[in-house]
């Protein structure tokens, strides 16, 4: 079972790779819309990528209003 830190770390790496941003530029407290310069549809794209990686399903409503990596990680962690 992953720890929240591990989950967060994996999310940051996946996001960096998917949106071609240097991993070192991302930290858990970052707002992913701003940091990755993505819109709400691209955020859904990221979600699908994360679901496949963690083998979980995240209903859209779970991530309503979530915009930082840490909260996103805790929502995923709760479903692992």
């Amino acid at each position: 079972m992953r720890t929240l830190e591990q989950t967060t770390e994996e999310i940051l790496s996946l996001a960096a790779a998917h949106f071609k941003v240097p991993r070192a530029e991302l930290s858990p407290a970052d707002d992913f819309y701003q940091k990755l310069r993505i819109d709400s549809l691209q955020a859904l794209e990221l979600l699908t990528r994360l679901e496949n990686h963690f083998s979980v399903e995240l209903p859209d409503y779970e991530v309503q209003g979530v915009s930082d990596f840490r909260t996103l990680a805790s929502r995923i962690q709760a479903r692992l």
Binding site: S40, L41, E45, E57, D60, Y61, E62
Partner: protein, 569 residues
């Protein structure tokens, strides 16, 4: 034209439809690549009536208000119909709002009943001010077993014993209270009557008919006036089916088109743009030879559809494009915000008519729409049947404020007589949008007179509503404007919010201030963020009751500063 004159209320019209099409499918609920449920009109009625009976048994009376906080799904529509059977007024709330905003609107609407999906109710119970809510009955859907419901009932178990009493309403009675904005400032609760909806439905279905067998993909929130009409009332009245998708991931939306052979869909400009991007990428990946072939076929299609859409022809000319949309798509509707003409033309040239419309909640949604006689990407179309549009105080070029009159215009803003009087003048709804009617009767839009923006996702943002998020920043005073309100531009694209900062004598607009602004900004939902700030060195003009005179301040700023004064955040 659909004749709804025999009906006095939405409930009566829906009831007749449920009886007329008992064996037709009315709802399909899909989730990713699975189908969760499918209902006929008879099954829909059988699900709604026990709920209506239970509401009545709980003391819910005619004209009582029932709020809804749900994503698009069958229980939304079943609940709405049950509320209408019981003679209630529906208050559909935007599920994307924060729980504290939900509480505020529930109080403003004086809702007696709330019907919500469990996660939204859970958030509300944890929000500040929850303990003082005045709700009498709360129903939650899909609550996990053993969950603490904080006094709510499970929707699935809330069933009355007998048949409900159908409570008649008149055409002039309120049917819905729809909030067009104002969660931070004064809530604007548009009171829409049964007549508003019946008339709008008759007008819209003249141009875009529904019939049994039509499948409408409902992805815009049903709480929004557009989907409520074209993703519920319109298709139901005509015996068509509504397809709900429990996720809005683009890849599943694409699959749904083909799986359910969708007939119509409404999207916001942001999604239309995304679809365009996807198609464009596929075209760009073609070999040069295939690309030349495609371009030639598109050119042929453009020529052949110049006067009017020819669906069967376009489907044969460009079969692969049409197959990607399921092969039976008749039109894409786009609304809620400004769409670039180039995007509209892109789809039309492929043989997919885009029903570009202009409307606002206050006008019972659509005011004008593209009628394809012929298609024009440069306008928002002609007024719908029964709706009058005129331009107030036009300038030399014919551009002035768009005013709307007709039976679809709302009754009033809830508990806001002053705001209502400013908005509906001698029977004309003053939209605050600037436009011009051309010789063919098409409306063209040229920006706004009012201080607000609409995002490509179709969100109406009033700058006053954002100001709360910045209270306490180290300046003497500040306020937020729509950039296009300060410096009018003849476009509705790329709208942004800017903050006006007036530092006190001991304060300076230094890096600390800007980093604080960036920090606060980051806490806002992405579409509510300000994009820049301007520095102002004079006191803001105030009324005697110390309220900001926004229009006067905007005028001063306009006279002294230009857009180049904005420091981007």
């Amino acid at each position: 034209m659909l004749d709804l004159s025999q009906f006095d209320s939405m409930g009566a019209a829906l009831r007749a439809a449920l009886e007329r099409w008992p064996n037709e499918t009315c709802l399909i609920e899909a989730d990713r690549d699975r189908e969760r449920s499918r209902l006929t009109y008879r099954e829909f009625r059988d699900a709604a009536e026990p709920l209506a009976a239970a509401l009545e048994e709980s003391g819910f009376a005619s004209a009582d208000r029932a709020a809804m906080i749900m994503t698009n799904q069958p229980k939304w529509l079943i609940s709405a119909y049950a509320v209408f059977v019981a003679g209630g007024i529906l208050v559909p709330l935007d599920y994307k709002l924060a729980a504290s905003e939900h509480l505020k609107l529930l109080a403003h609407a004086k809702a007696r009943v709330l019907i919500a999906e469990y996660p939204f109710w859970r958030a509300i119970t944890q929000a500040e001010g929850f303990s003082s809510h005045k709700l009498k009955t709360v129903l939650v859907t899909e609550a996990p077993p053993g969950a603490d419901l904080a006094g709510a009932h499970r929707w699935e178990e809330f069933k009355g014993a007998g048949k409900p009493e159908f409570r008649a309403r008149t055409r002039k009675d309120p049917a819905c209270i729809v909030y067009s904005s104002g969660t931070g400032g004064r809530p604007k609760g548009c009171v829409l009557t049964h007549e508003n909806y019946l008339e709008q439905c008759a007008a819209l279905t003249t141009l875009y008919p529904f019939w049994p067998g039509v499948r409408y993909l409902s992805i815009l929130p049903t709480n929004h006036a557009i989907d409520f009409m074209v993703g519920f009332f319109g298709p139901f009245i005509c015996g068509a089916a509504v397809v709900h998708l429990r996720t809005l991931r683009p890849e599943f939306v694409r699959d749904t088109f083909t799986r359910y052979k969708i007939t119509y869909i409404t999207v916001v400009p942001a999604i239309l743009k995304n679809l365009q991007k996807g198609l464009q990428a596929r075209f760009d990946a073609l070999t040069p030879g295939k690309r030349r072939m495609l371009d030639a076929l598109v050119a042929v299609n453009r020529t052949l559809t110049r006067r009017r859409p020819q669906l069967w022809l376009s489907r044969r000319l460009l079969p692969q494009v049409h197959r990607a949309f399921g092969g039976e798509l008749r039109a894409l509707f786009v609304g809620g915000a400004f769409t670039e003409p180039q995007t509209l033309q892109f789809f039309y040239d492929l043989g997919i008519p885009v029903g570009n419309a202009y409307g606002l909640t206050e006008a019972g949604t659509a005011v004008t729409t593209n009628d394809f006689k012929p298609f024009r990407a440069d306008t928002v179309g002609r007024p719908l049947p029964g709706i009058e549009v005129r331009i107030v105080n036009p300038n030399a070029e014919g551009i002035g404020e768009v005013a709307v009159r007709g039976k679809t215009v709302m009754s009033h803003y809830l508990d806001e007589p002053e705001m209502t009087a400013e908005t509906i003048v001698n029977g004309w709804l003053m939209t605050g949008d600037l436009g011009r009617l051309d010789a063919a009767g098409h409306l063209q839009l040229f920006g706004r007179k009012k201080n607000m923006i609409v995002t490509p996702e179709g969100k109406n943002i009033y700058p006053e509503d954002i100001e709360n998020a910045f209270v306490g920043i180290p300046v003497k005073e500040f306020c937020i404007f729509a950039a296009n309100y300060l410096w009018p531009q003849r476009t509705m694209a790329g709208e942004q919010l800017v903050m006006v900062i007036h530092p006190g004598p001991e304060q300076s607009a230094d890096a600390n201030l800007y980093s604080e602004l960036a920090r606060r900004n980051a806490q806002l939902l992405n579409y509510k963020r300000i994009s820049g700030a301007i520095l102002w060195d004079l006191d803001f003009p105030l009324t005697t009751s110390m309220k900001l005179k926004r229009a006067a301040l905007a005028e001063h700023i306009r006279a002294r500063l230009g857009r180049d004064a904005v420091v981007p955040l």
